[in-house]
């Protein structure tokens, strides 16, 4: 990569940092209306739903990979396992799947 790559990194760094920093520094000390506070409290769960679906099904060209991976992740998570176990467990299930069935 040439010099353009480093300019691109700087650009990416700036546009990634601004949406992170502006609300945290400018909203401090200002009381938001209760309705907006409630919407903000809803956001973590909504954003996770949107980040997971439908992308989880398309991690590989073979869609079964995504379906099995998603089933494994939700299955393990519903047993009450922590995040670490869910991630490593899903990888293990898919590794077994691709060794045995592909």
């Amino acid at each position: 990569m040439g010099a353009w790559y480093w300019w691109m990194i700087i650009g990416m760094a700036v546009v990634t940092y601004l949406p992170r920093a502006i609300p945290l520094t400018f909203l401090e000390g200002r009381e938001l209306p209760p309705a907006i506070q409630n919407v903000l409290r809803n956001i973590p769960y909504a954003v996770l739903g949107a980040l997971i679906f439908p992308a989880i099904f398309f991690v590989q060209e073979n869609v079964w990979f995504g379906i099995i991976g998603a089933t494994a992740a939700f299955g393990i998570a519903f047993t009450g396992a922590n995040v670490m176990t869910v991630v490593l467990g899903s990888i293990a299930v898919l590794a077994v799947y691709s060794v045995w069935f592909l």
Binding site: T16, Y17, E28, N42, P44, G49, P54, V86, L88
Partner: protein, 230 residues
């Protein structure tokens, strides 16, 4: 206020660090196949530190897309952090502006989810910094490790590791879903709207996530505020 400090933050962030391990490793590996040097790949993780955007930028670099467009795309994919840090502001203890500007850099989907879903009152800054430091360290170190050793990993393992990012999101969401219909509805509605945009191609990924998140969060707030009034 919650009284846990830096060390408890490190502990709470360990699950992110372990979850980042395969994701960063895969990023390092893909960066190498895209033609980035070890320094270039690691620098992106050090300065940008945004998993989804970094993955997307690799495929755009490989496709020969102009750097300016890649920067613009990065912005669109990461606008969602605007919602998260606005939401996080409600959860963190009041703090000096420069301190918040500093730890704002470490707010990712995962560190945000871990912080925002902590039970109890406002979180101390030191707890937040603990979560962020260990997650960031893991991301940077394993990007470099992935670039160094990635290509030697067996192919089946590389493929299996592509689920890691999403499995982590699932692991963050499910504990809050159990026995909470509101959380289930929030996630489900956002998932449906986002899938709609995906399959129709009406919005690019970044905008689709932003719009579906907002739509779901506002819709559920309207429904539940009606429920409170009656």
């Amino acid at each position: 206020m919650d009284d846990r400090g830096f060390v408890s933050g490190i502990k709470a962030g360990t699950s992110i660090a372990v979850g980042y391990f395969p994701i960063a490793l895969t990023f390092g590996l893909l960066a190498k196949t895209t033609g980035l040097s070890l320094l270039e790949a690691t620098a992106m993780s050090i300065f940008v530190y945004a998993g989804a955007a970094q993955y997307i930028s690799l495929s755009l670099i490989a496709a020969g897309v102009s750097p300016l467009l890649i920067v613009l795309n990065t912005f669109v994919v990461n606008i969602r952090h605007f919602l998260m840090t606005a939401s996080l502001n409600e959860k963190m203890q009041p703090e000096k502006k420069w301190v918040k500007a500093l730890y704002a850099f470490g707010v990712t989907d995962e560190s945000f989810s871990v912080l925002a879903t902590q039970k109890g009152g406002k979180l101390r800054t030191s707890f937040g910094i603990g979560v962020i430091v260990i997650a960031y360290g893991s991301w940077v170190i394993f990007t470099a490790v992935g670039h160094l050793i990635g290509a030697n990993l067996p192919h089946f393992l590389q493929a299996a590791m592509s689920i890691a990012l999403y499995a982590m999101f699932v692991g963050l969401l499910v504990p809050s879903m159990r026995g909470n219909r509101k959380v289930v509805s929030l996630a489900l509605i956002a998932a449906l709207i986002n899938s709609f945009f995906y399959f129709t191609g009406w919005l690019t990924t970044g905008w689709a996530i932003l719009v579906s998140t907002l739509a779901s969060a506002i819709f559920i707030e309207i429904i539940s505020s009606k429920g409170r009034r009656t």
